[in-house]
């Protein structure tokens, strides 16, 4: 329970209609999509919806005085229990700060508020022929603020990289309530090396160092055309070989996606009309650029795949493109349907391993599936080694929950053992905090020192990212 006095002051700052202390409203902010948040009951003490930087700043000042945790939140689509009040406190909903402040397209940049939804931004940009390239699967719902502090990315990161490559500057409210702008206080330049790269520090900080209230983003012109190569492989390992050969031949697809046997089965169960041929793996290479470039790349990739695959098709016809992508785009949703009376859960869902070892990782995940007797559907971005494993369980069965927690742990440990990481794009949050000592080594101590410096009272999103010593 928060002191009544504090609640009244928050109400004064944000307006009565934006402050929620009732049980029903608070409960809706107790979870993101992680399994961990689902099996706990981390209901915040208060939820506040903010609409401007000043409110954010004043609330942080207040929270500092009262030593109350503040947990920033965008759309709550995170998968690692990042936006959850695991130590109580105030959840700050930033999703109403969703305006585009400046479309500065001559300068290849836009300035937005953090609550804008990714798809809404790209829709507005598309009207002018531009786009913000990182393309998370959660495009329709996740906010730019969430993307910045998780350094999110998507299928096209093979060619276009991750969110951080596009952040030119940020307005950040520090835990003390002080407001700073990184990347140059008034700059509209496309690059700058003035000072420490604080923009990068806050990008990927998971809401533990400051609250992002304004984002200056670099955008790119939309490529003229897209093409797609789809290939089916008898042997999982052959798919890995094809990817390596494509890179060796100096071809650079925008995305390379893999679906293993489990994912193909799930997609077919969901949409039988897909009629996927029997295979151990399916690869999708997306290429983009000028029409000539697309044809050149697609034909060459198709030719390489011919050597390893038993069925290959390429197209730049927009209609066929959509048809061919369908299998990949439905697989996330299809996963939960492989076992009646069960659903997919998000744990161990984001490992990233060296590209060359993806086939091996896929095999090992299937071995774990058998060992734990839990169906797992696996698919992911083989172009950068990022794999999404989707275990499917009955979430009302506490024994299955215990088992899947162990399975998640095994998947995370496997990734570290394979010279990979526990998270390629979804973040550490609480779910993966336990692996940070091992994964980061002494660098974790430096992170903790930075955290202490900026947030001495540990009020901002405490408990996450293994930043607390205990």
């Amino acid at each position: 329970m928060l002191p009544a006095d504090l609640i009244r002051q928050v109400e004064k700052i944000a307006g009565l209609e934006n402050v929620f202390t009732d049980e029903a409203n608070r409960l809706c902010y107790a979870t993101d999509s992680s399994l961990l948040s689902q099996i706990n009951n981390w209901v915040p003490d208060l939820v506040v919806r903010v609409t401007n930087t000043e409110q954010v700043s004043n609330i942080l000042k207040l929270a500092n005085q009262h030593r109350v945790p503040v947990i920033p939140r965008g759309a709550g689509t995170g998968q690692c229990c990042g936006a959850v009040a695991c130590r109580g406190g105030i959840v700050m909903d930033l999703s109403s700060m969703n305006r585009i402040l400046n479309l500065d397209l001559e300068n290849l940049q836009v300035v937005v508020q953090p609550g804008i939804v990714h798809a809404d931004l790209n829709k507005a940009l598309a009207a002018h022929g531009f786009f913000f390239p990182p393309d998370p699967g959660s495009t329709k719902m996740c906010t730019l603020g969430g993307m910045v502090v998780f350094n999110s990315s998507g299928q096209r990161s093979v060619k276009y990289g991750t969110t951080k490559q596009y952040i030119l500057g940020l307005e950040v409210v520090l835990p003390s309530g002080e407001v700073i702008v990184t990347g140059g206080a008034r700059s509209r330049a496309l690059k700058s090396v003035a000072g420490y790269d604080l923009t990068s520090l806050f990008t990927g900080s998971e809401g533990t160092l400051g609250i992002v209230t304004r984002i200056r983003l670099k955008v790119l012109p939309i490529p003229e055309k897209r093409g797609l190569v789809v290939a089916f492989f008898d042997k999982l390992e052959a798919s890995g070989q094809a990817v390596i050969q494509v890179f060796r031949r100096r071809l650079l697809p925008s995305a390379i996606e893999i679906m293993d046997r489990t994912a193909m089965k799930a997609a077919t169960m969901y949409k039988p009309e897909l009629e996927l041929p029997p295979a151990e793996a399916m690869l999708l290479f997306e290429v983009d650029g000028s029409p000539a470039e697309v044809a050149y790349q697609a034909q060459n990739i198709a030719a390489i795949c011919q050597q390893f695959a038993n069925q290959v098709e390429w197209t730049d016809d927009p209609k066929r493109l959509i048809e061919l992508w369908t299998a990949r785009s439905v697989v996330g949703a299809a996963a939960g349907r492989v076992k009646p009376g069960a659903t997919r859960v998000y744990i161990g869902e984001d490992i990233c391993v060296p590209v060359i070892r993806v086939p091996e990782a896929l095999r090992r995940i299937q071995e774990l599936s058998e060992q734990y007797n839990i169906p797992i559907v696996t698919y992911g971005h083989i172009g950068d080694g990022n794999l999404h494993a989707a275990p499917v369980i009955n979430t009302y069965d506490s024994a299955e929950i215990e088992k899947v927690k162990q399975l998640g742990d095994a998947v995370h440990r496997m990734a570290l053992e394979m010279e990979g990481t526990t998270t390629g794009e979804h973040g550490v949050g609480l779910t993966r905090a336990g692996y940070m000592e091992e994964e980061l080594g002494p660098a974790l101590q430096v992170m903790r020192q930075i955290k202490r410096l900026l947030d001495p009272l540990n009020i901002l999103n405490p408990g996450k990212m293994a930043l607390d010593e205990n």
Partner: protein, 438 residues
């Protein structure tokens, strides 16, 4: 008997991905998590697991859903939010009871409309005291807050029902002919189209259908119902209006009152079974989705929406030229609940002279939601205005739709935004084009 769903199983597939946030009209208007489908699902789950008490706020969150199923269409995991909400409302009705206002509507008014229709002409006569007609349209604006309707536009009542209108009889409680029309249910009489007369004289008819009219169409928009009948007759379909039909029951179900719903359902099944027909037709999207979902297994005749049926038979396109710019509003209960998107458009395109301008965001709900708009008039209006602005953007002079509920809501919305655009049911436009042939 409709039985409650297995809530636990319905809830499980929600992975809390939040994709439904991108489409829910209530969430988009209000902006906090508890107004999103994901929030509602979370609340119902917590209620079921005893982690939360049925507080007033929780109740409000569960009631504040249009049952528009925009989220259901969007949800990658196939979560049936509307079933979860209906089941939760039933549970809550058992604890907190149903609000007085809703009770009045779903327990008294709607179940008894059949009997109350005898008062229609009286109401038709005095309605001028309560409301004034707007711009020579078929709508009137209440002069003050009318109980159960607030300040929305209402159709001008003529005292007719579909049966009396279709058979050319006088309104109730009048002549023998109108009473006969109601009794026999067979549509015949002065207004019969040449085609209907021809089928009567032995010309090959395509089918004989039972017309499930729905309350709002029968009493508020009988002329639309008459046009449905006419369009069917023009296509050599014999139309019968079973007399003893009552409300489809959706308002009861939506209020969590399963007993009254089941009573309505039984009465309707009896009425529909009492006559032989090749199909049951409705031209109300909400009735259609309710019949298909909760009646289908119990009837021999298949259930069709009006537009769906026309294209399932040998449809004769109308030839009368209608020079109009129209846009089409997809009723949620047609597009999302019945998957009917292309048929109404195809029918519109069959009308000579007509230009169809597509609206952006065709999935966006109009905000009517039946009793929702009685309970939350302001929210319904806010959602409606967003929709109406999209429709106005098309520059169309006529908004065509396929549900009387949407008609009511859109007419009010357009009027509030100063638009002169007319709202028509698809059947009205088709009928007008047939009539223009002569």
């Amino acid at each position: 008997m409709y039985m409650p769903v297995d809530l636990k199983q319905e809830l499980m597939p929600c992975v809390r991905c939040g994709q439904c946030r991108s489409v829910c009209p209530v969430f988009l208007a209000k902006g906090v998590e508890s107004d999103a489908p994901r929030g509602r699902v979370t609340l119902v789950r917590a209620l079921l697991e005893g982690r939360i008490d049925p507080t007033d706020i929780l109740n409000e969150k569960i009631q504040q859903c249009l049952l528009c199923r925009t989220c259901v269409q969007e949800c990658p995991s196939g979560v049936h939010v509307e079933r979860i909400i209906i089941a939760a409302r039933e549970k809550l009705a058992g604890v907190t009871g149903i609000s007085r206002e809703k009770k009045l509507v779903v327990r008294w008014l709607l179940p008894n409309l059949q009997r109350l229709r005898l008062f229609l002409p009286v109401i038709a006569r005095v309605q001028g005291l309560l409301a004034r007609r707007v711009n020579n349209s078929d709508y009137q604006a209440p002069r003050f807050n009318v109980p159960l309707a607030g300040r929305r536009l209402l159709p001008v009542l003529t005292g007719h029902t579909i049966a009396t209108m279709s058979s050319g009889g006088k309104p109730f409680p009048a002549t023998a002919s109108s009473l006969k029309a109601e009794k026999t249910g067979v549509v015949a009489g002065a207004n019969m189209t040449p085609e209907a007369a021809a089928t009567d004289n032995g010309l090959k008819k395509q089918a004989r259908v039972a017309f499930f009219t729905g309350c709002l169409m029968n009493y508020g928009y009988p002329h639309v119902g008459r046009d449905v009948v006419e369009v069917l007759q023009r296509n050599l379909v014999e139309v019968v209006i079973p007399e003893k039909q009552v409300c489809c029951g959706l308002p009861m179900l939506a209020a969590g009152d399963r007993n009254t719903f089941n009573r309505m359902r039984e009465e309707n099944l009896r009425a529909l079974r009492s006559i032989h027909s090749d199909a049951v037709i409705t031209a109300c999207a909400s009735c259609g989705s309710t019949l298909k979902e909760f009646y289908a297994g119990e009837l021999e005749a298949p259930i069709y929406d009006f537009s769906e049926f026309l294209l399932a038979i040998d449809f004769r396109p109308p030839r009368g030229t209608m020079v109009q710019n129209v846009t089409y509003h997809d009723p949620c209960h047609l597009r999302k609940a019945q998957g009917i998107k292309s048929q109404p458009r195809q029918l519109l395109k069959s009308v000579p002279g007509l230009t169809l301008k597509e609206v952006s965001n065709p999935d966006r709900c109009c905000g009517f939601g039946g009793t929702f708009s009685l309970t939350y008039p302001d929210l319904a209006r806010t959602i409606g205005v967003t929709k109406v602005k999209d429709l106005m953007q098309t520059g169309a002079d006529t908004v065509v739709t396929a549900c009387p509920g949407c008609m009511l809501q859109l007419a009010s919305g357009l009027y509030s935004q100063g638009s002169q655009a007319k709202v028509l049911h698809l059947a009205e436009l088709l009928a007008a084009s047939y009539r223009a042939e002569e």
